[in-house]
Amino acid sequence: MTTKPTHSLRSEKTRMLRHKSILYRKTILEMIYQARAGHTGGSLSCIDILNVLYNHVMNINPQNFTQVNRDHYIHSKGHSVEALYAVLADKGFFPRELLGNVEKYSSDFIGHPTRSVLGIEQNTGALGHGLSVAVGMALAAKKDGRSNRIFTIMGDGELTEGSIWEASASAAHYGLDNLIAIIDRNTLQITGHTEHVMNMEPLEAKFTAFGFAVRHVDGNNVEELVTLLENLPFEPGKPNLVLAHTVKGKGISYMEDQIQWHHRVPTDGEYAAALLELDAAEKHLEKTDGRF
């Protein structure tokens, strides 16, 4: 494949990220299909964010994982652990074959993140916890004069938990500009549209009022995510809040924005159809990226 001399590195990078997003979606679906369980829609909505974080933004890898002066990640929306497993396997934290153990008896790979799995640093699953823990980690980094950053992805349904707002106040109070909270704003939760369940809008105004520097991004667009997250902090002295607008079930036409795919498992036919769509996306990507 030929590359233009200008933008070549960046083009290569985003091409790689786009490709990984498709591969991760295949891994997620395979995992959920095999396990006969999992959070399909939410994993597909946040996977592009995780992809960009782990492959472009954060300084986390199996080699530096035991060190404290690296970036840290907390999966606050614990239920879409399949997305995290897919990325961590690809990063070499554990052999990909272990994903066959997801949700199996006595397996470390349960339906929510736990520290039993290398690469995961906090047990989550109950909502509204991750931001507080991230605040503590960011505060420790500040106290010790370290330059590392703490990232967390929260679900938008999670925002009704009061603890999120307790944590938000403290993040701003302590000026944690090394904290990056990303909201997977897919607008769906298990009962229905987030605004019908409990209207939390205007989110930008709320988080801004709490003292965050707030930015919007298409959370399923790796180029946009790369551009945004290359420029941290957004405003010195303020914690960072990303409203990542995503589509639940993104990448599989019949799952997109469909409430039943919150934790539905694909049938044989649905699984085959999904793989066909992802194969087609891969082929399309090869074609379009050929011009670089």
Binding site: N123, A126, S132
Partner: protein, 323 residues
């Protein structure tokens, strides 16, 4: 406690705060987290002396515990200092998930525990904390009886490898231990003379150890032999000490500043039954009713947690067995 021959010391709360000052001076990784509780936790001098080692979270117990977990994951030795009533109820899910389940060795300090807040009422009482935390895996539980046990527990907590909960009150406590007493997390301390047989085993925890010990002195004066255990650590539970005390005694009385459900008494009963050590047993604590109003000592007296009442309880039980 009237008629006591014991030397009144400081409050366990002040003892805790002073011990923490000494420890923090030589260990800059020690952090104290408060929920607008630095005054009630007696850590205002700490905050003035070590402003970099105190973190105020405001009245937000869920965030308080979650932030503590994050700090501990980065290697800080975190003491969360907050009223036991709020900390172990409002913050319970964070204690369970962020600390115990996630294996961060945070030191959870429940101040003004039990009915220390007395007439402030049930909102301010923590009679549920032993029960709640005993049902959560991977958090040790300590209720020191006096200043000695408090100092020892706080010192031990600094390097304790697991999450730990320590709760105490705010009333001056007499010294019940001999100067050469030995404290170890998970090991009950026997307060009475070594004997092959006792009439009564009295097993108490926290600030009910004093009235229990005084009751044993009255009983001994009446010729009734007592084995008194200060079971400062509820978890890990000292099975060996409880087994020996019960096996050598004709009956067992447990005493605690906690609901009679799910605390020390329940734990002892469960252990003894399953170990096939069958003894008449009386669990003294706060019964399953709306708690009476009054000061800590008035509430204690109301529910029979006084030297005189415990003495009567023992005598009544002995009489019943004899009859």
């Amino acid at each position: 406690m009237g008629g006591s021959n014991l030397q009144i010391g400081k409050t366990n709360l002040d003892t805790f705060a002073q011990t923490l000052m000494e420890l923090a001076a030589v260990d800059r990784d020690i952090l104290v987290l408060t929920s607008d509780s630095r005054g009630s936790g007696r850590v205002t001098p700490f905050a003035e002396k070590f402003p970099e080692q105190i973190v105020e979270i405001g009245i937000a117990e869920q965030n308080l515990v979650g932030v503590a977990a994050g700090l501990a994951s980065a290697g800080k030795k975190v003491f969360v200092v907050s009223p036991a009533c709020f900390l172990t109820a409002r913050g319970l899910e964070q204690i369970k998930n962020d600390i115990a389940y996630s294996d961060h060795p945070v030191k959870v300090i429940g101040i003004s525990a039990g009915v220390s807040y007395g007439s402030l009422g049930t909102t301010h009482h923590s009679l549920h904390d032993f029960a709640a935390l005993q049902s959560i895996n991977n958090i040790d539980i300590i209720a020191p009886a006096d200043n000695f046990e408090t100092t020892q527990a706080i010192q031990a907590a600094v390097h304790h490898p697991r999450p730990i909960y320590i709760r105490f009150g705010k009333k001056p406590m007499p010294a019940i231990h001999a100067p050469n007493a030995h404290f170890e997390i998970g090991k009950a301390i026997k307060l009475t003379a070594e004997r092959e047989k006792y009439d009564v085993a009295l097993i108490a925890t926290g600030e009910t150890v004093t009235p229990t010990y005084l009751a044993s002195q009255e009983l001994e004066e009446k010729g009734i032999t007592c084995c008194v255990l200060s079971l400062h650590t509820l978890r890990p539970f000292d099975e060996e000490a409880v087994r020996q005390a019960a096996e050598r005694s004709s009956m067992v009385i447990t005493v605690e500043e906690h609901s009679v459900n799910g605390g020390l008494g329940s734990r002892v009963a469960s252990f003894l039954m399953q170990a096939r050590i069958f003894r008449p047993l009386r669990i003294v604590g706060i019964p399953d009713v709306h708690t009476v109003t009054g000061s800590q000592v008035e509430i204690f007296n109301h529910y029979g947690i006084s030297p005189q009442a415990l003495c009567q309880t023992a005598l009544g039980l002995l009489e019943k067995e004899a009859g």
